[in-house]
């Protein structure tokens, strides 16, 4: 648990902030892929960043920051997605949002091709959705295996299956 003393402005938080800033797109993409509706992504982004912030004191520098970040973000997103009832105290005012609202376009404002991508991703179950996001982000099979907790062989097999499934979907849509 993070001490309130380690708030923005301290060395630890500056370091966290710089690292997060470098990979902030990960949060947004994962939140978008797992939000139950377009309005939920901001709450989910905030929840992910909050958990990253709380977990940061336990971050092991021997690992890549992005790998650690994917693990935390995906775990938060999947558990949030699976939680039927939302926590009543999870809602904060717009002024308190961690990710600025202007930063992420609404679903309707998304590039149609990106919206189509999110639609395809959204059709997958929670675990295959994570796999797909990691694949699209060009994450190595080794890192995907480490993030998801499965073997590299399993990653390769599953990605091939996903590719085939998507190809078939494209064919059907043509």
């Amino acid at each position: 648990m993070t001490s309130p003393n380690a708030m923005p402005g301290t060395a630890a938080s500056d370091e966290f902030s710089a690292r997060l800033d470098e990979h902030k797109g990960i949060v947004c993409k994962i939140a978008h892929a797992y939000a139950r509706n377009p309005e939920d992504w901001q709450d989910l982004s905030q929840e992910i960043i909050l958990q990253l912030w709380k977990s940061y004191p336990r971050f092991d520098p021997r690992f890549k920051f992005s790998t650690w970040m994917y693990r935390v973000a995906l775990n938060v997103a999947i558990s949030n997605y699976r939680r039927e009832r939302r926590r009543p105290n999870a809602v904060v005012s717009l002024e308190e949002l961690v990710v600025e609202p202007a930063a992420q376009p609404e679903q309707s404002e998304l590039d149609p091709r990106v919206a189509e991508l999110y639609r395809i991703i959204g059709q997958l179950d929670e675990l295959n959705r994570a796999l797909m996001l990691l694949y699209l982000d060009d994450t190595s099979y080794r890192d995907i295996a480490s993030i998801l907790g499965i073997s590299e062989t399993n990653v390769a097999t599953k990605i091939n299956r996903l590719k085939l499934k998507i190809k078939e979907q494209f064919k059907e849509n043509e």
Binding site: K24, S55, N75, S79, A103, L136, I150, T157, K158, I166
Partner: protein, 223 residues
């Protein structure tokens, strides 16, 4: 759109997000205060309450055993009930250990499986309750002694005692079957599904199904 275009679109999307996103970490302080009660903390609180209740009940039954030590017909039923309470306490301790082990920086399948196992706690309790069903007469024995000061095993009507003994025996095998089979791996079995639904409704069924999905996802696949 084909797969190559899909990846290209995704890369462009990533670049655009990196350019547009702004982080407002100053907001973390207030957000953290807003979220002091997390879902995990709620589970922990419930388990601790269960643990305290279990320890008190086990202690009271222990005191009862000491008080009636010279009357085996009362001590044995009390010990049987105590054994079930101790098993429930052990389940609570296991859950608290599991909750302590949850670190969101661990691999996705590991953490998700642990989170679902936490949700399945009700299933463990239901298994214990079902296993205790053939021993229902132990409750009656203790109830009669505590409420009316009557040792029903010593003073009760023989026909009544034999009828209850026969009922206990009849319950034994079905209860044992349910106890052994009531777990998430058998969530596909229609009868077990009814039991899981009865123990915790759709949420418990969803947890059992997701645990199976995780196991399937983790399994090596050979093409």
């Amino acid at each position: 759109m084909n797969l190559d275009e899909m990846k290209q679109t995704w890369t462009e999307h990533t670049v655009k997000l990196d350019r547009l996103l702004k982080l407002n970490l100053q907001a973390l302080q207030s957000a953290q205060m807003d979220k002091s009660q997390s879902a995990l903390n709620r589970y922990k609180t419930h388990r601790v309450i269960e643990l305290i209740t279990g320890v008190i009940s086990a202690g009271l039954l222990g005191a009862y055993v000491v008080h009636r030590l010279t009357v085996p017909s009362l001590v044995i039923p009390a010990l049987i009930l105590d054994a079930f309470i101790i098993a429930a306490i052990a389940g609570c301790v296991r859950q608290l250990i599991l909750l302590r082990q949850i670190n969101f920086a661990d691999p996705v399948t590991v953490i998700q499986a642990k989170l679902e196992a936490v949700k399945l706690h009700m299933l463990d309790n239901s298994r214990l309750m079902i296993l205790s069903l053939p021993f229902y007469f132990a409750y009656i024995v203790l109830g009669f002694d505590l409420l009316f000061g009557v040792n029903i095993l010593a003073q009760g009507d023989r026909a009544f005692l034999y009828a209850n003994a026969a009922l206990s025996v009849a319950f034994f095998l079905p209860a044992l079957w349910v106890f052994r089979n009531l777990n998430f791996r058998n969530a596909g079995h229609p009868m077990i599904r009814i039991f899981i639904n009865g123990a915790g409704g759709k949420q418990l069924l969803a947890a059992a199904d997701f645990l199976n999905q995780i196991e399937e996802f983790k399994a090596e696949e050979q093409n």
